[in-house]
Amino acid sequence: MTTATETAPAPTPTTLPGKRAPSKFPVYLGVGLIALIWTVPSFGLFINSFRTPQAIRGTGWWTVFDEVFDSATWTVQNYTQVLEGGFGNAFINSLAVTVPSVVIPLTVAAFAAYAFAWMDFPGRQVIFATVVGLLVVPLQMALIPILRVYTNFELNSTYPAIWLAHTGFGLPLAVYLLRNYMGSLPSSLIESAKIDGADHFKIFTRLVIPLSVPVLASFAIFQFLWVWNDLLVALVFLGYNPAVKVLTVELSDLAGRGEGALSLLPAAAGVTMILPLVVFFSLQRFFVRGLTAGSVKG
């Protein structure tokens, strides 16, 4: 996130001493205000998830500050209740959907990206230009035809169906990112490996893949967050079948149940968010690098 070219703090006393020293306060005020507004919604949800159902339904989460040290205020019963009431199961389903939906496109795209970057074949440019075009095609374009095929072959509500769908939808970005990265590796490196007698497969596995770990990690995080947080694809191809229902579908279902389910919503939302937040913050470095690698250059 922070680069080597860190800008010096705005007030540079050497040039204009008295004039800019007081300008720090508005900066802190502005940053603090935006950060506060951005944090309050999630903070409120977090507090609410540990309150008793009556309290959640009866009063706002901010009233908790009157009784913070009262042990009767806090409870984990919402969490146990949601986990037993379908969200535990849905968590495992989400894992079962997400992990292969990240790994398969990553592998398929890595091979393709290598071919686009370091092999010569007819149609290479045209096909890659098509991949660039496919980057912005809305998912909605794909849903009806794929659903029809799946229905014909009775593949709806199966894991492989959604793995392959997520693979297909994730491939344009994966191929694009990986090819650009792999293509920027020095060609002398590849050439000298060739002279040493390595074939393409060996160069790919021993040289290019280890060198591409940062971009592979970036894509893996993108794809993980995207698949885990996806509602649309899961809703259409897996639906409400409890055997394969994922967290987002379960949560949107609960949110649609109105007042009765209100007290369970904060804990349920918490369960759906915990893993992406952990992944996101522990691997933030890779994520940010992936985001900025492309866009800042121009």
Partner: protein
């Protein structure tokens, strides 16, 4: 797809130059046959394997075990498949191997892309000219309804409002925050950024639930307000408002959720762009007597203009395709529907495939200009190597 696609498009400094090898441009039919076959093997084996595995799964195999198997196959199995293909090709004469190998590497991805994206685009176009059961052609009837019936006109109006408002606010707030945070000490900057960044990890559904507790409405007689906005209104002596049922305004309240989610993305990208603005330029204009406001508008903004355009476009596309927020918060009722959500409502809830397809095509046509610009820019960059 979430945010990244467009943001990456400027990476095109990269110009790989694969060496021309003998045989790589071989166009004999038997070579092409082998090429196509080699592209098909991996996807075919994957599909066959996965769906046999699917039958196993139906016998109540432990779920964690299933995931483990899938993972082992996902990583190990696919590598093994590619490796096997490569061995088989290496057994061929050199010229043929060089001609066919790229297709074993890139082919599986192309086959999957062709099935999951190219074929559906064509098929959806055709379906959009058919009736809702897909058994008769109706010409432009679906499109005619989109541009005459109130339901669809409202969705289009709202979608346009979304793509005008959301990117503007997300970029403006993101830019303001990045600029301000840049002046903080390093550690405070990182902490402050993380707070804005956090919503990026949250699903649209999760975010909708978060904001439920902001917008919640309860008539005065039914007890205390648990939504923070109404609590504030009531404490100031006002009447509680059902924010999400107040036409026109409710659209804005839904947009706020997406702005909340997308600002972090804008902030991160713009922040690193700001840091790459040369210090001496900033200093020079300060010495010339420009105040911070002028420095920002005259130096910083022009130097990061291209990044702003990229971020803006990326958020615009995300906004245009947003479905989850409306689906969860209002289901499109009270005049809040947008095209992306209306499309799902048509084909998923009402099984109106013709109408759903026509709406999908509308979504697609709107991004075609961006698609063309991206492809053209890519080709230019490839040409000027």
């Amino acid at each position: 797809m979430s945010t990244p696609p467009v943001s990456e498009k400027q990476v095109e400094e990269v110009r790989p130059r694969p060496p021309t090898e003998p045989g790589s441009q071989d166009h004999r039919p038997q070579v092409w046959l082998l090429r196509v076959l080699s592209a098909l093997v991996v996807p075919a084996v994957l599909i066959v394997f996965f769906f046999t595995f699917e039958f196993l799964q139906r016998r109540d195999l432990n779920k964690l075990l299933q995931v483990s198997i899938a993972l082992v196959v996902g990583v190990g199995g696919i590598w093994l498949l590619y490796w096997g293909m490569d061995r088989a090709i290496s057994a061929m004469p050199d010229r043929a191997a060089t001609a066919i190998r790229p297709f074993a590497f890139a082919g599986p991805a192309m086959v999957l892309l062709a099935f999951y994206l190219v074929y559906p685009v064509v098929n959806t176009l055709i379906l959009s000219f058919q009736n809702d059961d897909g058994d008769a052609f109706v010409g432009l009837a679906n499109y005619e309804r989109i541009f005459t019936e109130t339901t669809y006109l409202v969705s289009i109006r709202n979608s346009v409002a979304w793509v005008v408002i959301v990117p503007a606010f997300a970029v403006a707030i993101g830019l303001a925050f990045a600029t301000l945070a840049d002046r903080l000490p390093r550690r405070s900057e990182a902490t402050a950024k993380s707070l804005i960044f956090l919503p990026m990890a949250i699903s649209f559904v999760g975010a909708s639930v978060v904001w439920t507790f902001i917008y919640r409405f309860r008539p005065l007689a039914f007890g205390e307000q648990i939504g923070i906005m109404n609590a504030i209104v009531v404490s100031l002596g006002g009447e509680p408002v059902d924010w999400l049922a107040t036409p026109l305004w409710n659209n804005l309240f839904l947009m706020v959720i997406l702005i909340w989610l997308q600002t972090g993305f804008a902030m991160v990208i713009l922040s690193s762009a700001i840091k790459s603005v040369p210090d001496d330029q900033l200093e020079a204009s300060r010495i010339d007597g420009a105040n911070e406001w002028q420095v920002f508008w005259k130096i910083t903004v022009p130097s990061i203009a291209s990044t702003i355009v990229v971020v803006w476009t990326t958020i615009l596309i995300t906004t245009w395709k947003v479905f989850d927020i409306v689906w969860v918060m209002t289901g499109g009722r009270e005049g809040t529907s947008v095209v992306a959500q209306q499309m799902v409502t048509e084909f998923f809830t009402f099984t109106n495939d013709g109408m759903g397809s026509a709406l999908a095509v509308l979504l697609f046509l709107a991004v075609v200009p961006i698609l063309i610009v991206n492809v053209r820019r890519f080709r230019e960059q490839e040409a000027t190597r």
